[in-house]
Amino acid sequence: MSSDASNELLVAAEAAATGASGPTNGGSGNRGAKRRGLSERNRPLWMLIPGGALMIIIIIVPLLLGIYIAGLDLDQYTLRKWISAPFIGVGNFVEALSHTPLLRSVWLSVSYSLLAMIVTLPLGIAAAVATQNAFKGRALVRSIFLIPYVLPSFVVATVWRTMLQPDGIVDKVLGTVGVHPGLWLNGPQSYWTLVLVQIWASWPFIYLLALAGLQAVDHEVHEASALDGALWWKKLRFVVFPYLKGPLSLAVLIGMLHHINNFTLPFVLFGVPAPSDVEVLPILTYVTSFQSFRFGLSAAMAFVSLVLIAIPLFVYLRAVRLDDGETPGGTK
């Protein structure tokens, strides 16, 4: 979690930097036609070798191994000599799609991520806008806003689980106003519990990136819009929000992937075996791997979900063109 957090801070800083340099020049990502000749010919590409080699070892090789394992009938009986485990081709994929709750898990994962994102997005933006102008105690408020984000997932989940237990603090408080909500951690409502806790834990991430985007709005822009007589909503809608497009698209993307990949939260909140309403992808993959020891099958599941998630991701990336420097976030 801690390395995750520092990664995200880096990403946020990066986004802020791109945002800041965006409107004036293309920054490092600029592949403007005018400079192409010189800069592309003499680029010191060899400097990519260390990073490239690391990526091959850390990302490409395990990914390929994962795909290979998805073709093996690898379980506790064959694990010891896993290289010689029987190769069954697409057998695991067929089983994953036809005999396991994989598709349902994909649906649960994607829908819960999306729901959490839809709620956290306005929350985060509102919090960022609210703490944009200086006021007494702003630093304190900003720090408090970050608390859910710096707490390890494990702690967040444990605390929420304790609060949401039958007859726990939440039930008691609601009981005093005559509401008896029923079970939080089992049954259909557990899905909403997961969404709720995810929102609580992840809105500061949106807040952080929105804040970074807001910092990038030049002072002159504020002055110019004031001169033009724009009131706060018009200014926010037509002047400030366009600056946030870049950082927030990134935030939505990373946030969604975070939610989809979040294992700790559902695992600690609900335990294993999980109620079927919250059997999200990471839980299903975990149980298949480490409770049933079906390593091949779970690799196939993970690969199917990778593809399923990668398709909309790719379309989205092309649509918002986050991956090239030609359309920086600040463009209106």
């Binding site: 990914l63 379980d75 694990l79 010891r80 409770q291 690799a299 998630i309």
Partner: protein, 454 residues
């Protein structure tokens, strides 16, 4: 950035692959084999034995001291050093075992929970002890025979050397029982229920258990089913569709929904929550607990007012035991196994001989509360609190020795997990239970089919 993102996705895809890869990449130094001297003593001078064992979170300081003491004794005996490594959770343990199994290197000696032994056996990565090997450990007859029940699929193929027993028993509140005029806990499940009904009232519940626990539910179902004559696994056939299993679930669920002898909030409790309730004096019986509840109870409101008893061995609906297999508890505790790839097996056996000796076992019991697997040591215990536990240890029955057991255990627990919403709202309908059992049966059978192929 794009690669960064696919990396996150790739991580999911390559989850197991990474584990395997890391193992394959990790280099390791081999150590020479221990030589056995003419006096039968192993000379391990200059060698180091690596031992992986679980961390005892209730007694971290005591465990460290135990490590140092044992290492000193082992050094005096063989001249070799012992290097202890600990794992914090079952998950941690599994990962370690998996990497070692794949890479063929790692600790020489592993400590395993009994129900995990079949899975470990299925990987064929651990030494099956020959008669000669057993002699090096001090002879098979030094162990409580019941404790050997889950060391291997049969007597000729055993990998696990019993280290400690942690049989499950029932704690009860002597004061509450005396106030209700009950002189001792019943020995049938029906009788226990009647007593619990009598004890429920005035803010006290007759019984307490955690329906949300990840293990307790299957232990109840297993015990009641085996007592009724259904072994759950018969050869390579799963028998979760047997009426005995259904009856067990109905009884277990009924305590809460029909008989109301358990606090309705128990649908959200784990075993430790249930223990806390019992410790606060809110319940009269606490079935399915072990000796490691003693430290908690000794420092609680019920200190001095509680005792343990063997859990009922007569299945629900019957008045006398239905089989000659009492199954008072699952055979529970720790086994120690020696890795097949170890280059110093003799040294490993010498270590096992030391830690399973009568004196060391009694010493361990005194510090950590777990019962000895050593027969003589077990017999010599005279603490009255422990007597029922020793009884339960002798009447324990092993869970089926199959690599599929993990899946079956999961399927049994899953029936409870998916029933919790209905448990909380009044009752689990017969059709819902039947459907869930059908699902559990088919999953278990599928897993057993793989096991018989493997």
């Amino acid at each position: 950035m794009r690669i960064g993102k696919s990396a996150r996705l790739g991580l999911v895809a390559a989850f197991s692959a990474t584990t395997l890869m890391l193992a394959a990449c990790g280099g390791g130094a081999d150590s020479g084999s221990g030589s056995t001297g003419s006096d039968g003593k192993v000379d391990g001078t200059g060698k180091t034995l690596n031992v992986l064992t679980g961390v005892i979170s209730q007694h971290p300081e005591e465990q460290k001291k135990w490590f140092t003491d044992i290492a000193a004794k082992f050094k005096a005996e063989t001249g070799a050093n012992v290097n202890f490594e600990t794992f914090a959770s079952a998950n941690d343990e599994l990962t370690r075992i998996q990497t070692s199994v794949v890479s063929g290197q790692g600790p020489d000696v592993y400590s395993l929970g009994t129900t995990f032994t079949p899975t470990a056996y299925a990987t064929k990565a651990f030494v099956t002890l020959t008669d000669d090997d057993w002699n090096k450990v001090g002879g098979k007859d030094r162990f409580n025979p019941a404790a050997l029940g889950i060391s291997g699929p049969d007597e000729k193929n055993q990998v696990g050397v019993p280290f400690v027993s942690r049989p499950f028993v029932m704690a009860y509140n002597k004061e509450l029982l005396a106030a209700a005029g009950i002189d001792k806990p019943a020995t049938t499940w029906d009788g226990l229920l009647d007593q619990a009904k009598k004890l429920t009232g005035n803010g006290v519940y007759g019984m307490v258990t955690g329906y949300k626990d990840n293990f307790d539910p299957w232990k109840f179902i297993w015990a009641m089913s085996v007592q009724a004559g259904d072994p759950i696994v018969d050869g390579d056939k799963a028998k979760l569709d047997d009426p005995a299993v259904k009856k067990a679930y109905e009884t277990y669920f009924g305590w809460l929904t029909k008989d109301k002898v358990i606090d309705p909030n128990a649908v959200g409790w784990s075993n430790s929550n249930a223990l806390a309730e019992f410790a606060a004096g809110h319940a009269a019986f606490f079935p399915m607990t072990t000796s490691n509840s003693i430290p908690t109870l000794e420092n609680s409101a019920v200190a001095g007012k509680y005792a343990y008893a063997v859990m009922p061995t007569t299945p629900p609906g019957k008045t006398a035991p239905a089989t000659d297999k009492p199954a008072a508890s699952i055979l529970s505790g720790d086994n120690v196994v020696v890795a097949d790839y170890s280059k110093q097996k003799d040294l490993a056996f010498a270590y096992l001989k030391l830690i399973t000796s009568k004196d060391e076992q009694l010493n361990y019991q005194k510090i950590f509360g777990d019962l000895p697997a050593n027969a003589e040591a077990l017999k010599s215990l005279d603490n009255p609190l422990l007597a029922p536990m020793a009884d339960a240890a002798a009447q324990s029955a092993a869970t089926p020795f199959t690599g599929a057991w993990g899946d079956i255990q999961l399927a049994l627990t899953n029936v409870t997990v998916q029933s919790i919403p209905e448990l909380s709202s009044g009752g689990v309908s017969d059709s819902a239970l039947t459907d869930r059992l059908k699902d559990a049966q088919s999953k278990s059978q599928a897993s057993l089919d793989r096991a018989s192929k493997g």
